[in-house]
Symmetry: C2
Subunit: 657 residues, 2 copies
């Protein structure tokens, strides 16, 4: 087998420029700010001190001006949506700060921007940006997290006083896991079922004060503390129960639905479902930020594990008499290097996602279809990236042995802090199901009754509409696919066109089969819930392979943008490792469906091994190129302690060397 080779050496700084991408200026700016501002993550502090520390840091971050990036220019912001996501993900070494900042500026501030109108913007945005008004995003309830449409908090309009009455009728309706609620929040954007004139208009959001200026809860607002969590203990998550709390009519964030003084309801969007999904869609930035931050945290964890693996030695090589660096072991490489390649792939997918968000946000005309596509993409990439983070950070911990278990080496905190990413801002399983339902709408002709499968609302909204639509570098991908060799050449597993075609083909086949299966099963008097549920593993898989294809195309597009041929060829090898380790992991399916034969399947495993060995000498440079701010790299095992020990031992073992 002819395996393409890595360049003998390359300039990590140059690769860093390629990776910095479209928001290189923001990355450089944040790196500089972080160089001058100590923001220790507060590991080991008790909960109270940790929360206090992070609140102080939030004020300092506000003073730096960075949080203004994402707010509209006319209210003192910078109007740089993409930059705001990038700047947040760069806080990966202090995830309590990132999440608390995300709550304040992304979720709370973002909801006021997206769902409010001028009267809210002019009043609240400046104090939100400068942290005079710490706030909460009170959506999730104890009884309803994934199913936001079924929230139980009510906001009932009282025309006599021209007020809304916000109420939690029982414990399930209590707002739960709300960041900034337990300690610091003064106001909350509260999501509630809007009732007026005897009618229920579905979920809307209102500005509800929750604490007075001394920090005491207001009358009727019962706040409790979620207490200690697995991680993110610098964030004060709490629970809020409303006992008939009155707010003025103007508290309603009224961009997508308003109530007139007499109680008449008006909305620019017809249809409860469409209104709900439109409102939710404007809040997509939070989900994209979580994906970005999960990616950054993964890079930091990999940097620690790879630096350690590069210097840590264990077991003598009888041939040389030297102890072997653990990263020289194939088993160790296989733990870390395919994960590194996937991290590169997801980096480019994330960059593309942020770009699309930014461009849609700044577009002259609202493109409904593109917006729905962005939401689907964001859901899928968030799920895949956060699972990748959980798995990879866990692997990095194990790859560092006992040292990886010590808090001083950062991996425990990274693992604990990122762990919730797979279930907050959308539970990953629920998100993948959303993605699949969107893809299934392509097959709408094949179904008699879409409603029963829960697909109707996607079709009505023309959610996605076409299957296997190229997402990036469309022409390039087509050219590569067209030029791909036939089935007989073993080397073709390194052919990008062959790889792209294989991913496309997998997606199409899984989706086609799913649609056929659902159609068959819906005949007769089958219970539609059961039909869909019996195929849930298939549904989730369809979404997963779709995302894998989207990610690969983004990687290919990223390489195409890279002008320097040396850098491009480094990225090509990482892309090979990403693709081939993905195929290897899924070779059960490829073989089952006769997409590859047994000989080629074995060749893929061999190729993954060879690529690992090729990339191994460059592993540390590659991970450095991500440019994680140096403030975040504090683990002694990754910053010299281990290599100093190895030196000392060697000096002792061979004093006359």
């Amino acid at each position: 087998m002819q395996i393409p080779r890595m360049p003998a050496g390359f300039d990590a700084a140059k690769l860093g420029e390629v990776l910095d991408g479209r928001w290189a200026d923001v990355r450089v700016q944040v790196r500089e700010t972080l160089r001058d501002t100590e923001l220790p993550p507060g590991d080991g502090l008790d909960v109270d001190s940790h929360r206090k520390l992070i609140l102080d840091q939030l004020h300092r971050l506000a003073a730096s001006g960075i949080p203004r990036l994402g707010f509209p220019g006319e209210y003192g912001g910078k109007g740089d949506t993409g930059g705001s996501v990038i700047s947040l993900e760069m806080l990966a070494g202090n995830l309590s700060l990132m999440v608390k900042g995300g709550v304040q500026w992304g979720l709370f501030g973002g909801a006021v921007v997206a769902l409010g109108t001028e009267r809210h913007h002019s009043r609240y945005l400046e104090p939100i940006m400068n942290m005079e008004l710490p706030g909460c995003f009170a959506m999730t309830e104890t009884g309803h997290g994934s199913d936001v449409q079924s929230l139980r908090t009510t906001a009932t309009y009282d025309p006599d006083s021209e007020e809304f009455v916000v109420h939690s009728p029982h414990e399930s309706a209590r707002k739960d896991y709300i960041g900034n609620a337990a300690r610091d929040g003064r106001m909350a954007v509260v999501f509630a079922q809007l009732h007026t004139a005897g009618q229920d208009h579905g979920v809307h959001a209102l500005m509800v004060p929750i604490r007075d200026e001394n920090g005491h809860p207001l009358p009727g607002v019962h706040i409790s503390d979620c207490g200690h969590k697995a991680g993110l203990n610098g964030v004060d998550n709490g629970r809020i129960l409303f006992d008939r709390v009155r707010v003025p009519r103007e508290a309603l964030l009224n961009r997508y639905g308003d109530v007139e003084p007499d109680g008449t309801y008006r909305s620019p969007i017809e249809g409860r479902n469409k209104r709900f999904f439109t409102m939710l869609g404007t809040l997509i930035r939070g989900r994209i930020s979580v994906a970005g931050t999960a990616g950054s945290a993964t890079k930091l964890a990999l940097e620690i594990a790879l630096r350690y693996g590069d210097t840590r030695r264990q077991f003598e090589n009888p041939g040389t008499g030297d102890e072997t660096p653990v990263l020289d072991y194939l088993g160790h490489q296989r733990k870390l290097l395919p994960a590194l390649a996937t991290t590169f792939a997801l980096h480019f997918a994330q960059e593309e996602l942020v770009s699309t968000l930014h461009d849609l946000h700044n577009a002259e005309e609202h493109d409904e279809r593109a917006q729905r596509e962005l939401e689907s993409r964001a859901a899928g990439i968030k799920a895949v990236t956060t699972w990748h983070a959980s798995r990879t950070i866990q692997t990095c911990r194990e790859a560092c042995g006992g040292a990886g278990y010590l808090s001083e080496n950062q991996l425990p905190q990274l693992k604990a802090d990122t762990d919730v990413f797979t279930t907050f801002e959308g539970d990953n399983t629920v998100l993948l199901q959303l993605v699949a339902k969107g893809l299934l709408t392509y097959y709408r002709d094949q179904f008699d009754d879409l409603g029963t499968l829960g697909l109707a609302r996607y079709v009505a909204d023309q959610f996605v509409g076409t299957v296997i639509e190229r997402t990036a570098a469309r022409r390039l991908v087509q050219r590569l696919v067209d030029a791909a060799p036939g089935r007989d050449d073993e080397d073709e597993i390194f052919d990008r066109g062959w790889q792209l075609r294989l991913f496309e083909d997998r997606e199409k086949h899984v989706l086609d089969a799913l649609a056929r299966r659902l159609r068959r099963a819906t005949g007769g008097d089958a219970d539609p819930f059961e039909v869909f549920n019996n195929a849930q593993d298939h549904v989730l898989r369809a979404a997963r392979v779709h995302v894998d294809r989207v990610v690969l195309e983004a990687f290919v597009a990223g390489i195409e943008r890279c002008a320097d041929p040396d850098m491009a060829s480094v990225l090509e090898r990482l892309c090979d490792l990403y693709v081939l380790s993905n195929i290897e992991e899924d070779r059960g399916w490829f073989l089952e469906h006769e997409r590859i034969g047994t000989r080629r399947s074995k060749a893929v495993t061999e190729a993954v091994n060879t690529l690992c060995q090729q990339i191994r000498p460059h592993a540390v440079s590659l991970v450095e190129a991500f440019g994680i701010p140096r403030q975040w790299l504090t683990a002694p095992i990754a910053t010299g302690a281990e290599s100093a020990r190895q030196e000392a031992q060697r000096a002792h073992d061979r004093p006359r060397d």
Copy 2:
């Protein structure tokens, strides 16, 4: 496809008796003790208070007499080796206590029993059992963890004073991660290279006092603190550096090697390697305890997630108007139920392992071969069980969403505490490599030079010697395999004989191919390190599939022991789910090697889905049957809070129901 059915209902208490097994009396006794003794795990305490709490609890546990189980009868113990392992694993709800107890009685006490002689036993065992003498097991060093043979601490005999001088020549030689060292230990069993009369005799252990009676470090003993860890913060792990510390000649634990007053070295075992492995082999109980505890912690995590999944509802079923319990979703079942089935399988494998340990320990004659086999089995099952624990507890956390991230719901602590199990008491990857090397000795005729592959020492010791030797229920397994149907019947995937044959065949094929590959590669002037390293993924896989077969045979044997046909048929379905989900996960290999065809491969996936749905109604009863002590189940979501909320919401939604 004809799928065998679960019984409509069964008696969970009866199943509990089956699972309690050979040490049912110990389990009952420990459950009773735990009912009367509050031992809260100390979540949320600061490190100092946590350590103090756990030390107090250790004294109370000592007072209960339970730790005496594993010590010899003639010194006040109960001589029940198996019972001591079982009793330790039952502390799964307070893992700091389990680990600190494991250090004190299992590792420290166990080393004194196994490596010491009468003079040590009569002096130290009583104060070890009653906690008057808290101690450490000082083996691992900063520079050498997995490679114990290369430890750098030295113990040099000085015939003039008849003392040993214990010394750490540099920082890599510092003892590290040592439990009981940072705060409480008074004495340590220190592993060091023994030098006498100018010769190095390899690793031996000595009793070295480290603190005086006021708790101050003794002269020359430099102790530091490992600080905060991911979990197990009730255990005071520390580092010890010895600066020419002198201990009397009698401090040497001299069962396998002694130094006479004039400095002459004597050992009953010839050969440095054999002596080293014999000494290490006597310490196997710690590894077996870790596997048992990982299993218990997994059961507790599954009980929390399954109880929550059974009551938690999300999304309305349009057909019924009710919200759906999340465990009714196939995707949720697939997360938890194959993991539950695997937990049953590993339960029986662990029971068998403990039984073998116990019987060998009590055997009249020492059976060297059986001992080596036990060590291999222990290594493999420890690796597989602790990885299963890490993965399953992580899955349980995610399956509980935000609630699973709150410390009050126990999963964060369970995850953090068990996380180190995959790398302590033997790094899992290193352990699997050991298992594989043992298996490869069967092929010794095929190699010219075993030494270069690191196999020589196993062959010399007749480590394992035969491949695919049945490990449990030998005759039954043979009968089932012989009666297995041919290849054409689709239902045969439920035939136990077919399943057993498939697992055997996989193991044999992977091993045969590995041996061939290594033999081919060792020809000529190939670098033997490279040869072995290039095949490391294959090596690890060989061990893994070997362990899978051993586990399946243990499950089959456990079912055979079960006299009640109803209970047996419940276990049969769990065994099916264990086997078929294992095959599904590995179907890439089975297809690649044409062990199953594409049609059968798809049938396996379908069967896993059906089994999940069959088992789902019984999930809570099944996990309850493990009999985890009720003291350990405190998560509000698993003890009524969630069902109370569901009731309240329903009462509010339909007041007139």
